[in-house]
């Protein structure tokens, strides 16, 4: 009797709590602010990037004094813990309990895919400046998921493969985190490199959060390759770069990296281990473009550190959405109009110093910089462009329809051309 009695009382208590919540929720719907739900990994393997995502958004909102199109902006921040289950839970909370008008953010591709699957059902606009899973703007395009100021994973490694060929590299090995982003970055490089006559000798895949790279580095050292391409993000990037140097591979085999590996969020804690690593990206904080320099200077003045890709992308992403909102008079409740306006908006004020527009699939077209990590005058390391490929789309030089007929990059398909 006691146990069931308790169950009855507790259920009644829960009901009372729930009933208390309902009228409060209705009241919120009449309020004025634009509610933006920001999902970022504040804990987990990519926590360093996640924190900068939040800073990037706040940096922009500070610039516009917390108002877009005359309405106050209410930013609700949730931690997705670098984990797709948590990301899904938090997205649900932001949309259903927090009544956010839009979602923005997420870092890891698997978290983005989980949330995108969810917003497919609710129709909430979801902006992904950082999520790079190719298919979200290709074969499995979801109308309300837009990659403002973002990039698809293989977009930058296509020209990188071309650059590698031009350097005279004939054999490359890749080591990468074993998830969509890694598969796609490696696939982009492998496809263009092998189509130009190069050879991918071997590919290594490791789980996220690998502490010890010695089994992989040992094997890589034995291969006779001209360069190694490493696709790493967050803490994995830091550890790989450090272990690469302490293994004695630095200076022996050139290291090519995904831009996340030489991003400020990683290299600002490293020393000369990261010197000379080359990556392909749209953003190079050491570029001599005056707009980029101004952005870097102001960001450094405010946050005491050089801006990373994550800060830059979220800043430009929210700028893009804000520009669209200004054009529509701030009517953020009209989802269809918001999505259409964003797709048509061209971003002129971004720190890249050039106008950026979206292609027909909701993905931006950029000038891709091949950039190198060099030491600045004050001893800190940053990325400086070496050469540049203008107007690169997510499809490189391929025709979109033909490109989309090939399967998406995965563990089993890396676009490698059979010799």
């Amino acid at each position: 009797m006691d146990r069931r009695q308790f169950l009855k009382t507790s259920t009644a208590a829960l009901t009372a709590a729930g009933a208390g919540g309902a009228p409060w929720r209705r009241a919120l719907a009449q309020a004025g602010p634009i509610k933006i739900g920001l999902l970022a990994p504040l804990t987990g393997v990519v926590a360093s990037g996640g924190k900068e995502m939040v800073e990037g958004v706040q940096f922009y909102l500070d610039h516009v004094k917390g108002e877009i199109a005359g309405r106050k902006v209410e930013l609700v921040i949730e931690d997705d813990a670098s984990n797709p289950d948590t990301a899904l839970q938090k997205a649900r909370r932001l949309v259903e309990q927090g009544n956010c008008h839009m979602l923005i953010g997420d870092l890891l591709a698997n978290t983005g895919l989980a949330v995108a699957n969810y917003v497919k059902g609710t129709g909430t606009p979801y902006f992904i400046p950082i999520i790079a899973a190719d298919d979200l703007t290709q074969r499995h395009r979801i109308k309300n998921v837009i990659r403002v100021a973002g990039y698809s994973a293989s977009a930058f490694t296509h020209p990188f493969g071309d650059w590698a060929l031009k350097q005279g590299y004939k054999k490359i090995a890749t080591i990468s985190q074993d998830y969509t982003f890694g598969h796609e970055q490696c696939g982009g490089l492998a496809q263009v490199f092998t189509e130009g006559g190069g050879e991918i000798v071997q590919q290594f895949w490791h789980p996220l959060n690998t502490a010890d790279f010695s089994p992989y580095l040992g094997q890589l050292a034995d291969l006779k390759v001209d360069a190694i391409f490493a696709m790493e993000t967050g803490a994995d990037a830091t550890r790989l770069i450090q272990q690469y140097a302490s293994f004695g591979l630095k200076g022996k085999i050139p290291l090519l990296a995904a831009m996340n590996g030489t991003d400020q969020s990683v290299i600002r804690t490293l020393g000369e281990e990261c010197d000379g690593i080359i990556a392909a990206a749209h953003f190079a904080e050491g570029s001599d473009n005056p707009v980029t320099q101004k952005f870097t200077r102001e960001y450094e003045a405010k946050y005491g550190k050089i801006p990373s890709l994550y800060g830059f992308s979220m800043y430009s992403g929210i700028m893009w959405v804000a520009t669209a909102l200004e054009k529509m008079g701030g009517k953020v409740e009209d989802r269809e109009l918001l999505i259409d306006t964003v797709l048509k908006t061209e971003l002129t004020g971004s720190p890249l110093g050039k106008t950026v527009r979206l292609d027909g699939y909701g993905n931006p077209i950029y000038d891709v910089q091949i950039r190198k990590v060099v030491k600045r005058a004050d001893g800190k390391y940053w990325n400086v462009p070496v050469t540049s490929y203008p107007n690169v789309s997510q499809f490189w030089t391929y025709d979109p329809e033909t490109y989309m007929k090939q399967p998406p990059y995965s563990r089993t398909f890396q676009g490698i051309k059979k010799a």
Partner: protein
């Protein structure tokens, strides 16, 4: 010589007053979606699902004296099979649901075969290790399980797509499954398990096949964990390695402990408490796991019998 008091009327194994209370609880639970927001209904659904998981762990921990740290893996395997069957193989939801439960039961059989000869800390370690093997497979067998990315799919049948409809379906399932578990632990078989918990050597000397009883108990417990896992896959329409991770097993055990080991229905209370706490606290701080940890320490110090266990203890003390 005193007259024996008349036997109370028993309906479905419960006394008359208990039936009234159960019906009242079910009625209140069924009425919840009418007053809660859709997000809160989602939370309530999760509480029911994890309540079933915690109860399944309690069958072994509370009634056979063997705490398993591998039930998260069994729970998650069911989820993986359900999502795979409906998203990749295109099977109808009902078939996927059944396949998930069968898969979980098979995994439980394998675990059981290895674990029944051990007890105490060794049982804990063995089930933990087995759970980690399952997690490793789900994480690295990317071709089938999707690895880090997990698997997405529209798993629910069309008539259960809304929050409310799904909640009611889960409520009915949870009620049926809880009743089954309750009958199971009250049956002669369940009493044998209690005997094994209290003194294995005595049971052996009485002629009971201890290993067989534990094996069957583990398999039945795994079956119910599989039901919870299949429901969770339908709830999320998504499964990832974190669903089979050791952390999931630990959470299940913690929910059981918070409710009260050996109280069976404490599983629901523990699950509700922890899910409510997680949600309330994570709205204020990203360090909510620390708060959860501190809460468990407090539970262990002040109410080691769990919420319901402590209440029972208070009421029986008052009764004297």
């Amino acid at each position: 010589m005193m007259q024996a008091s008349p036997q109370p009327i028993r309906i479905a194994g419960m006394t008359g007053s208990a039936v009234v209370v159960v019906l009242a609880v079910l009625a209140v639970a069924a009425a919840l979606p009418l007053v809660l927001t859709s997000y809160q209904v989602g939370l309530a659904t999760e509480m029911l699902i994890f309540g079933v998981l915690a109860m399944s762990i309690d069958i072994l921990a509370g009634f056979a004296g063997r705490t398993s740290l591998g039930h998260g893996a069994i729970f998650g395997v069911s989820g993986y099979v359900v999502v795979y069957a409906s998203a990749q193989a295109g099977l109808p939801p009902a078939v996927a649901f059944v396949l998930g439960i069968i898969a979980a039961t098979l995994v439980a059989v394998i675990f059981a075969l290895l674990a029944v000869r051990t007890s105490g800390v060794y049982f804990l370690l063995l089930t933990l290790a087995l759970g980690m093997i399952v997690w490793g497979i789900c994480l690295r067998w990317t071709q089938v399980t999707g690895g880090e990315n997990g698997m997405r799919g529209d798993v629910r049948p069309t008539f259960l797509v809304t929050h409310r409809a799904f909640y009611w379906a889960v409520l009915v399932t949870a009620a049926v499954v809880s009743y089954a578990m309750w009958r199971f632990v009250r049956s002669p078989f369940g009493l044998t398990l209690l005997g094994i918990r209290d003194s294995e050597s005595r049971m052996r000397s009485l002629g009971y096949n201890v290993s067989l009883h534990l094996f069957i108990g583990f398999t039945v417990s795994g079956f119910f964990a599989g039901v919870a896992g299949a429901l969770y896959a339908m709830f999320n329409n998504f499964v990832s390695p974190s669903t089979v991770a050791p952390a999931q097993s630990v959470e299940g055990v913690l929910m059981m402990i918070a409710g009260g080991v050996g109280t069976l229905f404490g599983g629901f209370v523990g699950a509700a408490a922890i899910i409510a706490l997680e949600n309330a606290v994570s709205a204020y701080t990203e360090r909510w796991q620390m708060v959860l940890g501190v809460t468990f320490i407090l539970i262990m110090i002040f109410t080691p019998e769990g919420i319901i266990g402590t209440l029972r203890a208070i009421l029986t003390r008052k009764g004297r």
